[in-house]
């Protein structure tokens, strides 16, 4: 393989590691909010290196590379918004936090405002 191939393989290894650990984290984590953190990590550090690897392997201006970059930019913009929406919906519907969690800043702020 050429140099481009080895760089792409390295990016694929990084992406595969983070995707797999993120998926295991989604299965193993104790409550919703920590799972949202794992999901966001799966997208940001797992999906973007895959797309960068495809763009490197095929060339950033080729057919596959350009579409991979478009998908990457789309994920990079929309993913934090979706995570935020899901977390806010979960908090508003009263999903309990993990019993070992330390601080709930929204609750603290509400108490401050009520005082």
């Amino acid at each position: 393989m050429s140099v481009h191939g080895w760089v792409a393989a390295a990016f694929c290894a990084v992406g595969l590691f983070f995707s797999l650990t993120g998926a295991i984290g989604i299965v193993r984590m104790p409550d919703v909010y920590t799972r949202i953190q794992c999901s966001s990590k799966t997208i940001t550090m797992g999906a973007i290196p895959f797309l960068v690897a495809l763009a490197i392997a095929e060339g950033p201006l080729s057919t596959y590379g350009s579409r991979a970059l478009v998908v990457g930019i789309l994920l990079f913009i929309v993913n934090p918004a979706a995570s935020h929406a899901v977390a806010r919906a979960a908090y508003k519907t009263g999903v309990p936090m993990w019993s070992g969690s330390v601080v709930d800043e929204v609750q603290l702020r509400r108490e401050d405002e009520s005082e």
Partner: protein, 86 residues
């Protein structure tokens, strides 16, 4: 190089298989939203790598639709949780 593309595609489907566990077990709806959202994003990447493996550029559009509409689905589910759809 083609082996790398196919290997990434199969590995993404393996990650999807891990996420189906959370889709089955999730105690609340939010867990399932997260699992489903991650699942369809990984599916989009699998489709993209399969397009590069098969050499058909028309498959790439499916990946674009899949990624964008998975987030639309996440927003719809979040709105359903907060206020209801109607």
């Amino acid at each position: 190089m083609r082996d790398l593309l196919l290997g990434v595609c199969i590995a993404e489907l393996g990650v999807i298989a891990v996420l189906i566990i959370r889709l089955a077990r999730g105690p609340t709806v939010s867990d399932r939203i997260i699992a489903l959202n991650t699942m369809s994003t990984q599916g989009a990447i699998a489709v993209l790598f399969f397009a590069a493996y098969a050499g058909r550029s028309i498959y790439c559009d499916v990946a674009l639709w899949l990624s964008s509409f998975s987030y639309l689905g996440a927003f719809v589910w979040a709105r359903y949780l907060e206020r209801g759809l109607l």
